[in-house]
């Protein structure tokens, strides 16, 4: 029989926003329960060097930074549930969160910090070769491409970072980008352009991943990717590039699907908050980090918003307690 339990504050998500919210909420004695989600630790767990999180003069590793945040949140009294929310009824009071295990969490207040997930190109061939030449995690899978030719698709920070990381292992890296300039930070672009192993194919879109997914007689696994078909977005001319691996880094989409129809969202799924706050369209529901932030999307901004969400949650719960304490008096007064 799946359990049901009541909590004051549920935090959904375990990136910098969720962990910071947990640290502040635990210190406010709200006994927060944090539901880790599909990828505990979030996007930083698949990065390497983090050079822009203040407080560390030398670069730190993304996974290490997230372990530290989790340990800090645990240390001050956060309870973790390593599960995902599969259904949410935020309009109910208390809010009702159903987990994958079947457990139901009833929460007086909810902080949504579910972040964003990597987008895929959406090609059938991309799905066929996932794990056999197509990857969205250079730090995980770069190992398999030592002295091989790889392509990185995209033009933002993650594409440029992945290309720079892969260049330390691969024989050559080709960055394929639909436009004629990158969105990535100038310092990263500078490093990329200066790197002898990296070249950029501007104004090209990926049409198909080429390879062999069948297991040949005598072989134990599929041969995998051997190329990528790209098309010039200006001239329309197609060409095949010979590569052994394709890393997709075309940006992120907010992980807000489970809350759809209950909260105001942008067309692209970002949860809308009142400008300058973390308040969603429902009282007692706060959103912080990449799930609501289409603009900045940094670990440090997510952490800052997580702090705001915890402080607002504490205020919300105090008001609620106060109102509840007043209610019997009012009832008594009207009866008299």
């Amino acid at each position: 029989m799946p359990a049901t339990r009541s909590v004051r504050l549920a935090i959904i998500g375990s990136g910098p926003a969720g962990y910071t919210a947990a640290i502040y909420a635990a210190r406010a004695l709200l006994k927060p329960v944090l539901i880790s989600g599909k990828d505990p630790g979030g996007q930083l767990t698949i990065t390497t060097d983090v050079e822009n999180y203040p407080g560390f003069a030398e670069a730190v590793q993304g996974p290490w930074l997230m372990e530290q945040m989790r340990a800090q949140a645990a240390h001050v009294g956060t309870e973790f549930i390593d599960d995902i929310v599969v259904k949410a009824d935020l309009k109910a009071q208390p809010a009702r969160l159903t987990l994958d295990s079947g457990e139901v969490i009833l929460a007086e207040c909810v902080i949504i910090a579910t972040g964003a997930q990597a987008k895929w190109l959406g090609l059938p061939s991309e799905q066929t070769f996932q794990g056999f030449g197509v990857s969205a995690c250079a730090t995980c899978d770069g190992f398999f491409y030592r002295n091989k030719a790889v392509a990185v698709v995209g033009g933002g920070n993650s594409a440029v970072e992945e290309a720079l990381y892969l260049a330390t292992l691969a024989a050559s890296v080709t960055v394929i980008h639909r436009r004629d300039s990158f969105r990535a930070e100038p310092i990263l672009q500078e490093r990329l352009f200066a790197h002898p192993k990296i070249k950029v194919l501007w104004n090209h879109a990926v049409e198909e991943i080429l390879g062999d997914a069948t297991i040949a007689p005598g072989a134990f696994g599929p041969a995998g990717v051997h190329g990528v078909k790209v098309r010039d977005t200006l001239s329309g001319a197609a060409q095949d590039l010979a590569v052994d691996g394709v890393f997709v880094a075309i940006g992120h989409a907010p992980a807000s699907e489970v809350f759809r129809g209950q909260l105001r969202m942008s067309k692209t799924g970002y949860i809308k908050v009142k400008a300058g706050t973390v308040q969603t369209s429902l009282p007692g529901v706060f959103a912080c980090g990449d799930v609501t932030d289409e603009t900045y999307r940094q670990a440090v901004t997510a952490a800052g918003m997580g702090c705001m969400a915890a402080l607002d949650a504490a205020r919300f719960l105090t008001h609620k307690d106060h109102a509840a304490a007043q209610a019997p008096e009012k009832a008594g007064a009207s009866a008299a």
Binding site: D39, G41, F132, G133, T139, F143, F220
Partner: protein, 109 residues
């Protein structure tokens, strides 16, 4: 039972010639998603003890087995029955999804 560490040297004996199905988790130290599924696999190893062996192969220490099976992304989980790779999953998955897969493949009821 806890998870079983396998290497290039022990793969044949512990996986291919095993008396029961073996789920092999290909992983590495630097892989964040691999660390996420590690505790889940520990739990499954306990819960399905006697029906399936959960084995872990470190691709950095044992590169030839993943090469042989075409593994190019981690985590990858491959299920071996009677010396043959019968099914595989690429990427981290929640516990319920791994159990679902093991049910579909007939390993757990």
């Amino acid at each position: 039972m806890s998870t079983l560490k396998v290497t290039d040297e022990t793969f044949e004996r512990d996986v291919l010639k095993a008396g029961q199905p073996v789920l092999v988790d290909f992983w590495a130290e630097w892989c964040g998603p691999c660390k996420q599924i590690a505790p889940v696999l520990d739990q499954i190893a306990e819960e399905l003890s006697g029906r399936v062996t959960i084995a872990k192969l470190n691709i950095e220490d044992s590169p030839s087995t993943p090469g042989r099976y075409g593994v190019r992304g981690i985590p990858t989980m491959m299920l071996f029955k009677d010396g043959q790779m019968s099914s595989m999953k690429v990427g981290a998955m929640p516990k319920a999804k791994i159990l679902e897969w093991l049910t579909e493949t007939g390993v757990s009821a």
